[in-house]
Amino acid sequence: MALLDVSNLSIHFGGVKAVQEVTFSIDAGIVYSVIGPNGAGKTTLFNLITGVYKPTSGEIHLDGESIAGKSPDELARRGVARTFQNLQICMNMSAIENVMVGAHLRLDRNLLKAALRLPSLTRRDAELRDEAAELMRFVGLEKYIEARADSMPYGALKRLEIARALAMKPRLIFLDEPAAGLNPKETIEVDHLVRKVADSGITVVLVEHDMKMVMNLSDRILVLDYGKKLAEGTGEEVRKNPDVIAAYLGAHA
């Protein structure tokens, strides 16, 4: 059975049908990419699956359980993590604290215990800090472990988002244009990082414009155009699909 099953998913904003009747499924352990021109509905699709938007109609199943319309924190509990196309970093916190927030659900959030600084809580927090530092090394941010988020360059913040998502120990991670705005060297580094994430056993769903990266990483690809599913398959299949060539790849290939 597929890890994620999306069927006939739609959302309308007033008269705009941003996503229409989209159906696909993602098996556990693969890298699945969603591509399409700007405005095709890729980020909206992410927002629907991660609970930021509620679908107008359609179904989403995670491991056989319906998750359509559930709130983001309920999805976080079920192991769904994501990053954002437009950075959503907490600039009022340090870099490592941003990563630690990712582990929110795994911690004792009791207000009273926190105010009294109980040793059990501080010990756990110290462990978490080490874990977060480890994650920052994993994504290649070792030199920013002590940094403030608002002092970091754009490329590093992109990876900080990935580290925060990984701190959730997710089963499924949605990466929304992790290489957007990066230079070619940084893009290759992110390419390697996504591979490393996938190899650690996390299912990756990727939205990305860099076709080389998409073709290189993806097991399967979904092509969206004007909110509708245009094609789906392996990189080879998609590349040969005449609709895709006409609508999208034609311009690039």
Binding site: T50, G51, V52, S71, P72, D73, L75, A76, R77, A81, R82, F84, Q88, I89, C90, M91, N92, M93, S94, E97, N98, M100, V101, G102, H104, L105, L107, D108, R109, N110, L111, K113, A114, A115, L116, R117, L121, D125, R164, A165, A167, M168
Partner: protein, 310 residues
């Protein structure tokens, strides 16, 4: 970083210990006590405004509930002051929670409206229910005692409130650097990001709102017992604004900024009293100048200036 934050706590405690021995007379001791009381309220309010990024323009209303619970319940119903204080805090907590839940689904300006409205309703009620509250003239408050020991002299009050303030600073520092505090700051930094990592945003906002309201109520009770008299001014809109101003001038999201803000704005009216008639103009002008030139507040602005100098 964290060690340095707690170092400030020792400074605060040291200052609090030395202060009564260097203050020239009881007038200054009284001002110091009022500063400390305000500081505790502002610490709670800063958790809400500075750290969690939510506005309240009605906190004086909660202060008023505590103060009038401590005045009315013992006077008219013979309640023990401690019980009255707790009752005030419970009522405040319930009311804050009731109002907060729907309101915190909204953003900034609507929240300002709702808290402002609640505060104004409370202060009007206090003014109108003269048979219970003495109306606009206010009413006396019985002394506070526990186990046969009565708090009466300003010196005794000073030490009680000094301990309260130290504990509050310590607890605030703890809270900020905890999973709870990180979630609060995260929802200020990016609400959508914190939702996606699993923070139940509305719950956190409600929790901190209720907590800061209860803090205000308890300190309202303490103010009432310390001063020995309550007036509706304690609960009115202008006092809410004063409290928010303390947060903002001292520094949003800064524990020590809260203290500085409380000290400065408690002292300000005393200092301005010499301006005879021009107090309001001077107070307003100072607010504007501070906010225009130090929009982040004193402590964060100075801290970043010093940070660059190093």
């Amino acid at each position: 970083m964290q060690k340095r934050a707690y170092f400030g706590l020792y400074v605060v405690i040291a200052v609090l210990i030395v202060l009564p021995f260097v203050l020239p007379n009881s007038f200054y001791l009284d001002v110091a006590i009022r500063m400390a009381i305000n500081a505790v309220i502002v610490l709670g309010l800063n958790l809400l405004i500075g750290f969690a990024g939510q506005i309240s323009l009605g906190h004086a209303g909660f202060l008023g509930i505590g103060a009038y619970a401590s005045a009315v319940l013992p006077t008219h119903f013979g309640w023990h002051p401690l019980l009255a204080m707790i009752a005030g805090a419970v009522v405040t907590g319930v009311l804050a929670a009731l109002v907060a839940r729907p309101i915190f689904k909204l953003k900034g300006n609507y929240l300002a409206m709702a808290t402002l409205g609640l505060g104004i309703i409370l202060s009007i009620a206090v003014r109108n229910e003269a048979q219970w509250t003495g109306g606009p003239d206010g009413m006396p408050v019985p002394a506070f005692g526990l186990f046969g020991f009565e708090l009466s002299s300003d010196k005794q009050w000073y030490w009680v409130i000094a301990v309260l303030l130290s504990v509050s600073v310590w607890a605030s520092l703890n809270l900020i650097d905890s999973p709870f505090g990180r979630a609060l700051r995260a929802l200020h930094g990016s609400e959508v990001a914190s939702r996606v990592v699993g923070v139940d945003v509305v719950r956190y906002k409600v929790a901190i709102f209720v907590m800061s309201a209860v803090f205000a109520s308890l300190m309202g009770s303490i103010t009432a017992h310390y001063v020995g008299f309550v007036t509706p001014n304690l609960a009115d809109f202008f006092h809410s604004i004063e409290l928010v101003t303390m947060v903002v001038i001292g520094g949003m999201a800064s524990v020590y900024g809260s203290l500085i803000g409380a000290v400065l704005l408690t002292a300000l009216p005393q200092a301005l009293a010499t301006f005879e008639g021009w107090e309001t103009v001077a107070f307003g002008g100072i607010l504007m100048v501070c906010m225009i030139f130090l929009p982040k507040g004193l402590v964060p602005t100075l801290a970043s200036k010093l940070g660059k100098g190093e």
